[in-house]
Symmetry: C2
Subunit: 429 residues, 2 copies
């Protein structure tokens, strides 16, 4: 069989790593996929830059859309990023021309995934994105194929290495969020503008793609309840530990009450469960399924090697002629999910109140919770300094999100707290 | 597209679960794989048995080989087990006739995998076996496809739920191996004849298949160094804990010194690493790769649901027309691995000596180790009862297996020990 001709748009660290694999191992990989791989076209902003790889005989395109439209390629690999053009225009051009597409672009798929999948599937083309979620972990393949006969009840995990690194380091060092973030930026683990990561949006993009392939519906980014880790304090991390939990930024999508609930927020995860032990820049995903039960997938969520590994997995599938619907089920059949509202979410919570320590304060707090039928599982009030602000920490039994919000408003209205109460949801697996 | 006609030979708990899924969800699964699934033929020993599933219009065959030879099927699912006939004859008959095969039969593939793969590949047929290794964890797919562009350096894990349940329970209860095994048999977690599981052969069968697909060579069952868990004592489990380790039965395959080293034995695993926390009947596999780095896969290793999930994953691939070489690379190209001898294996060890506590004993032990250039990292001698037998426990630095064996023989020859020394290899990940 003739070689599979690959065109790559975007030669950052991932693009350069993919190019290097194809140039250096493209012939050897024929034993894995039945045909050799050949890099025939590339596009990037700066032609002069040294990327540590000889681009061989690949044709250079200044314009990625031109590459997609006219280069001699059998597959188009989009590694530019960004939900709009030129990434979107280039992917559309490749599909229009009958060329399958591989992308690591979660924003593009979160916003335009169904339209692009419909276009690709109408032409019988693959549109693959293993690298868009959880880097080197082959989780899209696991959900779409390995667990393909299951009804997935819940899929959740740690999807952002930057946040996980910050939370892990805050716990091990006892330092503040701002301090650790600054260090992560110096070390290159966090972006100069870290908002997208620490605010939870990166996790939300990945979660909506995982949920789409798990539940067979369209990605619904705007239906996700998103909170970031900016307000997680060393004090909460310490209290979590005392209760036998660790704070992680989770993305969770579940079938509840006939709808799909999707949320991204810091959560208390029980020590001794797999997610609690996922440290540093690692990612992990858990799938709860009707047949297979619970399965856990852990690995490196970012970086040139792991992301290139995922891109190459998609390239090998295209070389083999494997062509699956982008989101598991045909795009023409999938619609937006019926949304389970966050107010109806039921769960236990960790609550921290900062109060002036005087008689009757606990009674006031308890009353506000009881009025919403929220009962307390355990309470902790460590240092007592009469007349000074001290933390009072509680773990509640399960209650609805709406009751919890009402109770916290009532607490604030009584005037017994000196700052906004802190609420962190607890997840038991 | 017409429905995929499925024939199943073997209707134990797994076969019945697969049949039920196809009969009840065969039409719905068309959205996952492009065509409906239909159960058209079955074979089992006892026709009268109630399996909790209506076999619908499926034709009954008393002889599984006849089913494979003549039933109206597009795929043959072999769930009888056993390395010989009728499983082997039935699989050969299906391939000879041009029908792809799915099997959960690790013994069949460990012994005859390459011959069967060659026959299947010569006819352009799939021979899939996701269910043969680690039940509900889609690890064959992960290694063959998801990590397909990687060079795998090492693949290892906990592959036998019976052993893991016994070791987990021994640790939590402090009870003896014999006692916990008897309980596991009562509970149905261990077979009436548990030799195959506790002796490590079940793990070895799975390991040789994992190694084959990871390294692209023929399964080499007879080259695996195999030790079981029969001699693991509560005392060793307790000492392991004190040193910060937990004892697990591992299967490990690695590239070392230009060859492949494969071994199955109880090992000390550091607390806080993923494998140490895999409890009860769960399985877990770790792959160390050049691109993706380390990735970990954990899930249920046995049971009707998880195993049926894996079988169905293979069925969906056949329905989609996906056809990969059985062991990742074409069977005509793969040979037996160059074997790295166990004597050359280098690692640290936990050693426990039972000695009569009298002056000079430690000096004798240390001398025997030093003579083989084995140095001691830490030592523990808990209870001192002069004149009585007491345990002396050591963790060594890295040394070759051959040196370790010589040192232990020398210790025995001195006459200072009252029973055979216990040696458990340490694994650091």
């Amino acid at each position: 069989m003739t070689a599979l001709r690959v065109g790559i748009a975007g030669l950052g660290t991932v693009g350069a790593a993919v190019a290097k694999i194809i140039v250096e191992n493209g012939a050897a990989l024929a034993s894995r996929c039945g045909r050799a791989l050949q890099l025939t076209a590339v596009s990037a902003r700066d032609r002069a830059k040294d990327r540590g790889v000889s681009l061989g005989a690949a044709e250079w395109f200044a314009d990625p859309v031109k590459l997609a439209q006219s280069a001699p390629i059998d597959v188009f690999v989009e590694l530019m990023g960004g939900e709009g053009d030129p990434a979107k225009a280039a992917v559309e051009a490749a599909i229009a021309r009958g060329v399958p597409v591989i992308t690591a672009n979660k924003a593009l798929l979160a916003h335009h995934g169904v339209a692009l999948a419909k276009a690709a599937e109408a032409k019988g083309l693959a549109l693959n994105y293993e690298a868009a979620v959880a880097g080197g972990i082959p989780i899209v393949k696991a959900l779409r194929e390995g667990l393909g006969a299951n009804r997935v009840e819940r899929v959740y995990g740690i999807l952002n290495g930057t946040c996980n690194y910050i939370l892990t380091t805050m716990e091990s060092s006892g330092r503040s969020f701002a301090d650790v973030l600054a260090e992560a930026q110096r070390l290159g683990y966090a972006e100069a503008d870290p908002t997208f990561d620490i605010g939870g949006m990166d996790t939300a993009h990945k979660l909506c793609l995982l949920a789409a392939v798990a539940f067979g519906n369209a990605p619904a980014l705007d239906e996700i309840h998103v909170e970031g880790i900016e307000r997680v304090s060393p004090m909460d991390i310490m209290f979590a530990r005392e209760f036998g939990f660790r704070i992680k930024l989770l993305g969770l999508a579940s079938r509840v009450n006939g709808g799909i609930e999707q949320r991204v927020h810091p959560a208390m995860v029980p020590l001794g469960t797999p997610l609690a032990d996922v440290d540093g820049v690692f990612n992990a995903v858990v799938a709860d399924c009707n047949l297979a039960g619970k399965s856990v997938y852990e690995g490196r969520g970012a970086g040139a090697g792991p992301t290139a590994s995922a891109v190459m997995s998609d390239v090998l599938d295209v070389a083999r002629g494997v062509r699956l619907p982008t989101f598991g089920a045909p795009a023409v059949h999938i619609g937006r999910p019926k949304v389970a509202s966050m107010g109806a979410h039921v769960g236990a919570c960790y609550l921290r109140f900062t109060v002036i320590d005087r008689p009757g304060v606990i009674a006031v707090l308890s009353r506000c919770l009881a009025d919403q039928s929220i009962s307390i599982e355990s309470m902790l009030q460590r240092s007592r300094s009469p007349g000074e602000a001290v933390p009072v920490v509680m773990i509640t039994h399960e209650a609805s999100e709406l009751s919890m919000v009402k109770a916290l408003s009532a607490v604030v209205a009584t005037g017994v707290v000196t700052e906004q109460p802190c609420m962190i949801r607890m997840e038991r697996f």
